[in-house]
């Protein structure tokens, strides 16, 4: 298996073997993510090309690259005059790929990463394309589950906005490789779309739908919480009512399995009570950290190949 010069666009492009290869590499690199010195990517340049604000994704790529001895160019739409002047994405990518060895792209339109990859002469990583994909988030989620629980045959509840949340789509696609039982828990009107559900069932996933966390809390190994956005509700009071009934607190966790882990892509805005942070179940800050070794794994695989060439 050779990773060199490929692009990372959508979880749909990965086989289970390839995911396992990335997660194994991430485990090897964890000491470097924690600060051990390395010059492995010395002389390589990563371009962070962000057309939409992001902190975690951009910074964790930057940290991953710098801790391996590489350099980072940060470009966003306010800094780059040509982007502001309405240059096509295709042209921007043609130019940037001549300056950098690898590109991370965040863009508001769905499919932008795949389009950009057609014009890039270097590997391109999708750092989130509109409501589309965010494969590195999914890979770090899988890594977190592997490190803090186990990947095979888990029962996982995906809670929150399953209609617009891109995180849960990519994650569900990947989990279907590992025989997960996926419980969808969402407020009325924010359920996963029929096309997405049938897509997942075509991939062999086992799916069920629930309207309250209480219904599933005793049966699950992983509780994956996402944000419910205010903008999706007609009034603030309706939002408050719904958000309140999806809030994770210690009381709810009384009926949880002992080894349940709680994950959240962050930032959270009230979905998880801070009193949960100190419990053995809380994994969301570790999850944010795991973004670094996982992104290191991708950077080394894409920039060096996997040694099988």
């Amino acid at each position: 298996m050779v990773f060199g010069k490929r692009h990372i666009l959508s979880m749909r492009d990965f086989s289970r073997e390839e995911i396992d290869l990335i997660l194994d590499r991430a485990l090897e690199l964890e000491p470097y993510a924690k600060g051990k010195r390395s010059d492995r990517l010395k002389g390589k340049i990563l371009a962070n090309l962000f057309f939409e604000p992001s902190t975690r994704t951009r910074i964790s790529f930057e940290t991953a690259m710098k801790r391996l001895g590489g350099e980072v160019l940060n470009l966003d739409s306010t800094e780059s005059s040509s982007i502001a002047k309405g240059e096509t994405l295709a042209d921007t990518i043609r130019v940037i790929s001549a300056y950098a060895d690898i590109i991370v792209l965040r863009h508001p339109k769905e499919g932008s990463a795949r389009l950009a990859s057609e014009f890039s002469s270097v590997p391109l990583i999708n750092g989130g394309d509109g409501a589309g994909h965010h494969p590195t988030q999914t890979l770090l989620d899988l890594y977190t589950i592997k490190r803090e629980s186990r990947l095979d045959g888990i029962s996982i509840a995906l809670v929150g906005d399953l209609k617009y949340g891109r995180t849960v789509h990519s994650l569900s696609i990947a989990l279907s490789f590992y025989g997960a039982s996926i419980k969808l828990v969402s407020p009325p009107g924010l359920g996963m779309s029929e096309t997405m559900k049938s897509d997942l069932m075509d991939l062999g996933a086992e799916i069920s739908e629930h309207d309250s966390i209480q219904d599933v809390i005793g049966d699950i190994d992983v509780l994956y919480v996402t944000r419910i956005q205010k903008e999706r509700f007609p009034t603030l009071s309706e939002y408050n009512k719904v958000a309140g009934s999806y809030r994770i607190d210690k009381k709810l966790l009384e009926s949880a399995k002992d080894d349940l882990i709680i994950m959240h892509p962050l930032p959270r805005v009230g979905e998880i009570d801070p009193e949960v942070d100190g419990t053995k179940h809380a994994c969301y800050f570790k999850q944010a950290f795991y973004g670094v070794p996982v992104r290191m794994a991708l950077l080394t695989l894409l920039l060096e190949g996997d040694g099988d060439e």
Binding site: S10, R12, T88, L89, A90, H107, P108, K109, E110, G111, S112, R114, L115, E118, D129, G130, A131, G132, H133, T195, D199
Partner: protein, 160 residues
Amino acid sequence: MSEKTTGDEQELRVRKIENGTVIDQITAGQALNVLKILGITGSTDAVISLVMNVPSKKMGLKDIVKIEDRELDPGEVDRIALIAPRAKINIIRAYDVVEKHSVYLPRVIQGILRCANPNCISNTNEPVRSKFVVEGSEDKPIFRCFYCEERFENAIEHLI
């Protein structure tokens, strides 16, 4: 001519062509879309006859398109399977049908369709043609956008 004419007799109202292509058994009402998909516009200088909504034994009603002096390559015509899956391509030489082909929906369709997702990058001014991967069964194809991966079924509603 009698009041009750058969499909074939009606077709004969259009003069026989000496050489060219006859696309027969087009889903009724789709003849104009067939021309559009083939890229044949008002600026063509080919002689084209179009018959719409004639009775057909096999299909109830059908459309027919006849293009003179141009033999369409079956590969280039396959795309019309999107809207006229039962169409037959007849190559005419010296007034006779010398070849007859069915149309087969290609696995990948470029251009022709517009992605149903308004926020898809293929619906912007980027220098690419739309592209769809055909999934599902022959009689109920599903089109997945190569870029945003959204799926839709009704091709006729998404013709560019």
